[in-house]
């Protein structure tokens, strides 16, 4: 009865420690913000802008998407902490938060075991 006390690894469990689930979920949510082609294009456009900032109206037409969709993606990136939002009159200017961007790059590099 119940022959298998150990299922497959008799000597040693070869797997390392499990990262805490909530930590993994927080990291996943951050990375998920980068895992959409439209958001990648938005980041690249904002980053390569002359003054490293852009308003929604500058971003809508080149991507061929509706204004609510662009606004949605910018909100996702802002909520993830990767973009800063500043109202200048009627316009909303978005720019990359360099500190958070660099921290995110570090987190991803560590996850991948890269130095």
């Amino acid at each position: 009865m119940d022959t298998a006390a150990d299922s497959c690894a008799p000597s040693s469990s070869a797997a390392g420690e499990v990262m805490a689930r909530d930590e993994a979920e927080r990291l996943a949510q951050l990375i998920k913000a980068l895992g959409d082609p439209t958001r990648i294009q938005l980041l690249e456009m904002i980053r390569t802008s002359p003054d490293h900032a852009a308003c929604v109206c500058d971003l809508t037409e080149p991507l061929g998407l509706s204004q609510p969709t662009i606004s949605h993606h910018l909100k996702v990136l802002t909520d993830a902490g990767l973009l800063a939002r500043e109202r200048r009159g009627a316009w909303a200017w978005f720019s990359v938060r360099d500190d958070r961007a660099e921290e995110t790059a570090r987190l991803v590099a560590h996850l991948l075991g890269a130095r």
Copy 2:
């Protein structure tokens, strides 16, 4: 009629060049493979294993998920090029492809403007 020849930016379009859509989609698909808490935990467990490799049976129980689910996530990471799969007898051993991992970290860092 139709007063606005220019919509919002009269002098200069402040946005930078648009990244090609297919390039953005390829990059998004790669990043999406990292944007799931279970896959993050799997990567971390494989990376921190004694011999930097693990088989499915070692990974199923610690995460509390079914074997088909773990197998599915490992396939996603393998299809993304981040894991290598090697059959050793009845077991399938997975390990991180360091070259692809480092390349991915570089791509993300560039996307975020980090050095």
